[in-house]
Structure formats: C-alpha cells, structure tokens
C-alpha cells in the first residue's frame, strides 16, 4: 500500500486541541443545544457561520459540515461517563480518524479484512497512523489485530 504522508490539520495533531479541550469545563449533552458557541466544524468554522445564506453564496464546502475531533472526544467522554466504555473507545478512535483522508480510510479498512495484509504491513500501517496523524489508539488497535491475525492465520499468505 502507498499512502500519501501529508500534514494533518493542526487541530487534530496529538495533544494540542484535544488536551486543551479537556481542561475546559465539560459541555453538557446534547452539545447541539449546550455548546452551540463552542462547536466547530472540521474546517474550524463556528456553528454560527453555517447558515443557509452561506450555502446559497457558495461559501461552504463538505469540510464545513464535517465533524471535528474535539466533538467526538467530548462525545467519547459523555459515553464513558454514562457507562458505555466500548462506545467511548470507538468515538475516541474516530476522533483520531477525522484527519485521515477518505481514500486512506477505505484502504486501511481493506487491509484489515482477512487475508489482505502481511504482519509487517499492518505494523507499518500502525506506525504510519501514529506518526502522521497522532492516531495512537488506532495504531494500538491495528497492532493487536496484526498479532491476532498471525495467531489465527488471517494474514495474507
């Protein structure tokens, strides 16, 4: 697999925006009603800028209506507090994946299917995600998959 190594948006780099958010008082669920002024799109637009007029003027694109990692991290926290730790884990992995481009996501999924990848392809993929996107939780998850796939003969032969 070849993947373009490209700069992730600053906001999704590990530990910058995410940790900053963690120090703020927790927003209450639903965020749509209780954090209206704090919510940002993937492209860092405020919710107040996302209007019908802006659509009509052609000022908005798909990224202006995409989920930001911070919202997913907050949702992960809300899920964990409500007693849904596995969902919280999924949402936190999702937060890391917000900055991974669409085509790369599809390629990673394909590689994780049975008999697609060799062990070292998976570990390289994990390293790549961690280095490029700060996706350490996904990296750990993929490394675990690599070990299991080896144990259960699910790797490409």
């Amino acid at each position: 697999m070849t993947m373009r190594v490209r700069d992730a948006p600053a906001s999704s780099a590990l530990g910058t925006k995410g940790s900053a958010m963690r120090e703020k008082p927790e927003a209450k669920y639903p965020l749509r009603d209780n954090a209206t002024d704090k919510l940002r799109s993937f492209s860092e637009r405020a919710l107040s800028e996302i209007t019908a007029e802006a659509i009509a003027k052609g000022e908005l694109s798909g990224d202006d209506l995409r989920t930001h990692a911070d919202a997913l991290r907050q949702q992960a926290r809300i899920a964990r507090d409500a007693g849904y730790p596995q969902l919280a884990g999924n949402l936190s992995r999702a937060a890391e994946l917000t900055s991974v481009p669409n085509d790369e996501l599809l390629k990673i999924y394909e590689l994780l299917r049975p008999d697609r990848a060799r062990h070292e392809e998976l570990t390289r993929l994990a390293d790549y995600l961690e280095l490029t996107y700060g996706a350490s939780e996904n990296a750990a998850f993929i490394r675990e998959a690599a070990e299991t796939y080896r144990e259960r003969n699910l790797l490409r032969r």
Partner: protein
C-alpha cells in the same frame, strides 16, 4: 387413505405453507441449548483471561480473543460469573431491580453465561426484561423504502410519507449497485421533506456505504454484519477488527452506526460448529459491544424463517433482542424479512417486541408494498399500515408511527417528488418529468410509475459518485429550486453531524428535531407508573385514525319525523279475543324512523300488520314508555293482549314474540339479529304471532345467521339503543295507538 374434510382444509391454510423441521444440533439447527453449547466459566490470571466457557486461551479463536480484550469488563467478571444464572433471570423480570444494576454485572458475563440466563426465562419474563433493559425510554420505528424500478420520484415520495408517518429512520438499498448515490439522495430529500431529522441510510457494500456517508447522503449505517463463528466471520470477508475499524471510520465522519447480527446466519452458512443459534448470537453481541457499536440490528433479520422453522424459534428471537439490550446496545429488533405466510403468526411474533417496546420495533417496516421491497422484506408492509395503527390504538402502545390523512399524504408526496425533480434539474441530472411527479404523488408501487430510461440515470450516478459533488451541492440545488425548507432540514442534519450527539446510544431525532438517546432519554422503567407511556398529544395522535367517526353520526341517518299515520289515542287497556298486540319501543316512529338495517318504520309496521291480518287475527298497537328493553316491551304487550300473544319491537328493529305466561326474559321467538331482518321476515313474524294467537301449530321463522353483523354494527346498535332509552319515561303507562292504514 381416507381424507378428513377438516384436515384437508387445514392443509391449505397459510400456516401450512411454512416449513417446519425437527432440531438437528450437529448442523446448528437448534435455537437454544444445544448439547454442544459450552458451560459458562472464566479464569483470570494477572488481568488476563486464561480460560473462557471451557476453552483455554491457547484454543481461543479470533472472536474469543476480541471478546476478552474488548467486550468483557474484567473488573466485575469473576463476581458476575459467580452469581447463579437463575438469579439474573429473576432480576431481569423483577421491576424492583433497576436496569443499571443488572447492566453493571452483565458487563462481566461470557457468551455461555448470557445464554444460560435465558434458559430460565419464558417469553413473558423476557418481555418484562426487554421493557426494562431497552436503552432509550421512548420506543421508535424504522422504515424500508425501496422500489424495484429504483424510481427517484417514487423513492422520494415514499420516504416523505414514511417520515410523515413518524418513522425515525428510513433505510433504502439498491437492485443495481450503481444506483446507490441516487437512491440515497432520493430518500434524503424525501425524508427531510416529510420531517426534518429522520436518519437515513443506503444499504450497500461496506466501502461504498462509507463513501455515501462521506458525501453526506446518509446519516447512519447498519450494514456492519457480524457472525458467531470465526469461519463465518471470515466468509463474510471481515474480522472483528476490520468491522470495529469501519465503525470508527463512520463515526469519524459523523455517521451513526449499528451492527447487524441475528440467529441462524451461521447455520445458513454451514458453519455453526454444532452450537445453538442463541449461543452464537451471544458471541456476536459481545463482538458488537467490544467493537464500540452503539447498537445492533438483531432478531434473526434475514434468516428469520430458519429459527421459525424450529421449536422455540420465536422465543429465541426475543431472547436475542433481550441479550442485546442487557449489554446496553440499542436494538433494532427485526420484524423485517418475510417470516410467515400466516397473518396470525406474524402478528403474534410481533407482539413480543411491540408490547415491551424496543428502540426500533422494526429494523425495517416495509413502508412500500412487499413486492417493491428490495431487502427481501415486507413481513409488515404499506398494505398493513392501517392494521398497525389500530394495534397501537387498541393497546395504547407507541409503535413508533401515527395515522395520517390521505390529503396530507398526497401533499407531502407531491412536495417530495417536486423537490427531487428540482434537484435533478439544478444538478443537470436526467430530467424527472411532471408526469413522473404526478404518478409518484398518487402511486402505491412501481407498477404505478411510468417507464424510465435507466441508462442515462446510471451514467449520471457514476459521474456524481466520481465527482466532488455532495450534500452541499444538493442543498444549493434545493434552494435554487424553491425548496429552501428542505434545504434547511438537510443543513440542520449537517450541523447535527458537527455536534455528533446522535452517535450516542439509541439516538434519534424527535418531532422537534431534538436528539433523544440513552444519554438524555435513558429508559427508566421500574414498573407501573414509570418509564414511557403514550400520553397527551402523542396518545391523541395514535387515537386519531381517520376511520374513527364521531358517535353522533351513527344515529343521524335513523332519525326521522314522527309518522303522521301513527297517533296515540289514550291509555292502553287489556284487550279481548284472538288479537295480537304489537308493542312498540318508546322512540319507534316518533324520533327514530328507520331500523338498523335501514328499513322504514312505517314499512315494518305494514309488513307485520299484513302478516297478522293474513292469518285472520286482529292487531292492536300500543307504545311502551317505561322501558326500551325488547323483552320488557314484548312482555307488557303480551299481558295486555286478549290472546296473551304480543310482538315486541324496538326502534332498531329487534323483535320478539312473547306470551303472557312465560317468564319476562323468555319468549316464543326472538329475532336479535335486526340487521338481517327483511320486510318479508317482519311479515312472517306477524304471521307466526297470529298463528300462536289462533292456537295454530307454528314453524318458527328462520333467520339467516350473520355472526359478522354484531361485529360491524355494535357501535350503531349501542347508540340507537341509547337514543331509544333517552325516550323512556319510567312512570308512564303504555299508550294505545292508532295506525291509519288497512292491509289489503
């Protein structure tokens, strides 16, 4: 062989179109409790599971490995596994044990333990458990909207109607995979025309599904299928890790996901490993939970006919819904694929989810006729809408939809078809004609739609998929085409995507476009007086089926002017000779003018009098005021009759031939089925009464038995009787009447 006529008839009943099979555990044809199912156990050494359900770690398959590292809460596992299964079963059925207390312990239970708990429960106990363990307080429903023509205007119109009916999610799919973006687009526009906030998905191959979501054309996905054995999982071309990654990928784009599992798939794929369907489903559900899915679509789904072929199959399907809710998963509880030829059986099965309520009672109610359902579904379809609405009304149960009026349906369908027409025009897609819009507005199925050239549609779909065009372009097209309200709803879906609130368990948007999920609307059922009940406006909406009529309308057609020929002349006295007294109810020919069967009171009088005169007897008419009861009217008449014979006649037409020496509630002949009585019958009643008076031998009048009459007319019967009872004057003695008419 000699043939019983009855058995021959039974053989041709719908139920006997089903296939029934005896269990065969070795082939996985057993719904629960296979002799090969493992016994529950767990051993944890140094925070690591070294044995589970009798299998040492060295022999774990990929599912076991995933379950122990992601699904089980090892902090509670040892304590949870030590509690007897029967204890859990009792807690589930006990309203005094809150959901959270059970969920905390269930988090540490292995697949064999979960299965073992069910062993102790009957369906009623499981329904109690489901009512309590369901994660969202308010139940909801999901619709399937497809059509075999894959006509965009019909898809949009049907999606709009489904949204108006109250479905919280609408799912479509494709016959031809290349249609995926356009089918997704049509139901997005349709639903957001019908009601802002309906979640939509297009069920296609995983990677394509993700691309549709990335374009903003869908807001949820439930295509993530999991299986209970490693070999089946791999046959499905996935692993728990690939599915979990896919789940995160969807969530990263703000899309709600739900996994799919369900009993029977492993047996169907020939890889059940001798285990029961329910045990394998327990494994699936722990994989679903471990992957971090907020919910699951289960209840056998497309394999439903397989468990239903086996003993205990419907119970097992309820059990799997319950297991999912015990694990804190949103449950979309099947009832989608064709499960039975028999209306009785399919409805009885539905009750197991309908009565307790689930997060989505159907994981696809076919909001289109089943012949247009591309999911192989349609166990309940658009032709059952009114039946379903009545079930809600009968039981005061919120089944997630509401009745709508025909004019509302036509308006919303037209608007949705025009909206998609405008979008196709603005985006330069193959035109949708006004004829197609008109047809979609009134259509029931694909058969009602004009032929459409699909080649240019498919080419346009390919171009749309390859381009950067997404739901932002769709919103602009709607704005330019004059459908800014629909654009606003899609824009709000975009804002909701940014907030990501609807990624939480069991999230839907309510009628006010507000998110409702396990976080802000957690199920709090703890017995009577708690939890969700349809009340206030919601209960009014459920009641308001258009077929329900105001009660006054039943009586009005029977009200008439007093008969001019029928006059009261003074107190009724005891008569003499071979006469027949005809005793009328207090409203007869006064305020009411017709029987329940629509016969004019005047004609009924003439018929009876003709019958009496024909036998050579005399007739005398009295009116009874102190009672509206048929027997009482007849009995009073008999006691005033010279012969001791009288006919009692109520305004609604019910008649009796009475004799003075009988007990008041006894009679010579009774004619309770007034709707079946004809003028000829009334004449025969007159004849017979005269023959009794003359002491002649008499064959009772035969009346056709129509057991449906009461069913059809009981409301009218009650209201006509009530109207007659309004005329009762308790102290007033019977009155002699003169009917100014002579029989020929």
């Amino acid at each position: 062989m000699e043939r019983s006529i009855r058995f021959d008839l039974l053989a041709n009943r719908d139920i006997n179109k089903e296939t029934f099979v005896e269990p065969w555990p070795e082939a996985g044809l057993i719904v629960a409790d296979s002799p090969y199912d493992p016994q529950p156990s767990i051993s944890i050494d140094d925070d690591k599971v070294v044995e589970m359900d009798g299998v040492p770690r060295a022999d774990f398959d990929a599912l076991d490995l995933f379950i122990v590292s992601h699904a089980l809460d090892l902090d509670v596992a040892v304590a949870a596994m030590a509690i007897p299964s029967k204890e859990y079963a009792r807690m589930l059925a006990d309203i005094n044990v809150p959901r959270q207390d059970i969920a905390r312990l269930i988090a540490g239970c292995t697949p064999a333990k979960l299965t073992d708990i069910i062993r102790h429960m009957n369906v009623l106990e499981m329904m109690m458990g489901l009512a309590k363990m369901r994660v969202r307080r308010m139940p909801a429903n999901q619709a399937h909207v497809t059509n075999w023509r894959e006509h965009p205007a019909l898809l949009a119109a049907d999606a709009a109607e489904a949204a108006l009916r109250g479905f919280a999610e609408v799912e479509t799919t494709v016959r031809i995979a290349r249609f995926a973006p356009f089918n997704a687009l049509a139901i997005l526009i349709g639903t957001q025309t019908g009601r802002g906030g309906v979640l939509t998905q297009c069920s296609v191959e995983e990677a394509l599904g993700l691309r549709l979501a990335m374009k903003g054309l869908t807001s949820y996905a439930e295509t993530l299928s999991v299986y209970g054995t490693e070999l089946t999982f791999v046959d499905g071309d996935d692993t728990p890790w690939s599915k979990a990654f896919l789940a995160s990928a969807y969530a990263s784009r703000g899309v709600k996901i739900r996994f799919t599992s369900g009993t029977g798939s492993e047996a169907l794929m020939g890889r059940a490993e001798q285990k029961s369907m329910l045990y394998l489903e327990a494994r699936c559900l722990l994989v679903v939970k471990g992957a971090g899915s907020q919910g699951v679509q289960n209840g056998s789904i497309s394999c439903i006919a397989l468990p239903e072929a086996l003993p205990g199959g419907v119970r097992a399907v309820l059990a799997e819904n319950l297991l999912a809710s015990m694990l804190g998963l949103e449950v979309a509880s099947g009832n989608d694929a064709l499960a039975s030829h028999s209306s009785i059986r399919k409805t009885a099965k539905l009750m197991l989810q309908f009565i307790p309520g689930t997060d989505f009672i159907f994981s696809g109610y076919s909001a289109i006729p089943k012949r247009d359902n591309l999911f192989g579904g349609g166990n309940f379809d658009a032709e059952d809408f009114d039946d379903y609405n009545v079930l809600q009304r009968d039981m005061q149960i919120d089944g997630g939809v509401k009745p709508i009026r025909e004019d509302e349906a036509l308006d919303i369908r037209r608007k949705a078809a025009e909206a998609i027409q405008a979008v196709y025009r603005e985006l330069d897609l193959p035109a949708i004609s006004d004829e197609e819009v008109a047809a979609a507005t009134v259509a029931h199925s694909s058969d009602d739609m004009p032929e459409r050239d699909i080649v240019p549609d498919l080419e346009a779909a390919d171009r749309f998929m390859a381009s950067d065009s997404d739901f932002v372009a769709v919103m602009r097209a709607l704005q330019r085409g004059g459908f800014s309200e629909v654009a606003d709803n899609i824009l709000e879906m975009g804002r909701q995507r940014i907030a990501a609130d609807y990624l939480q368990p069991a999230a839907i948007f309510d009628a006010d476009f507000k998110v409702q999920s396990a976080i802000n609307d957690p199920n709090n059922y703890t017995g009577p007086g708690s939890g969700y009940r349809p009340q206030g406006q919601r209960w009014k909406d459920i009641q308001a089926i258009p077929q329900a009529k105001p009660p006054t309308g039943f009586v009005e057609p029977h009200v008439g002017e007093p008969l001019s020929r029928l006059v009261e002349i003074g107190p009724a006295a005891r008569g003499r000779g071979k006469e027949v007294v005809l005793a009328l109810g207090p409203a007869f020919g006064r305020v009411l003018g017709k029987t329940i069967g629509g016969l004019e009171h005047e004609e009924v009088l003439k018929a009876i009098l003709s019958g009496i005169a024909g036998e050579g007897a005399l007739a005398r008419i009295i009116r009874v005021y102190h009672s509206s009861d048929c027997a009482a009217i007849g009995f009073v008449g008999a006691r005033l009759s010279g012969s001791g014979i009288a006919i009692g006649l109520q305004s609604r037409g019910t008649a009796v031939i009475h004799q003075k020496d009988l007990a008041p509630l006894n009679n010579l002949e009774l004619f309770p089925q007034s709707p079946s009585l004809t003028i000829a019958t009334y004449e025969n009643i007159g004849v017979n009464a005269a023959r009794y008076a003359l002491g002649k031998s008499t064959v009772p009048v035969s009346v056709k038995i129509d057991n449906g009459a009461r069913l059809r007319l009981i409301v009218k019967t009650a209201l006509l009787h009530r109207r007659e009872t309004d005329e009762v004057c308790p102290g007033q003695a019977p009155v002699e009447c003169l009917f100014d008419w002579e029989p020929d």
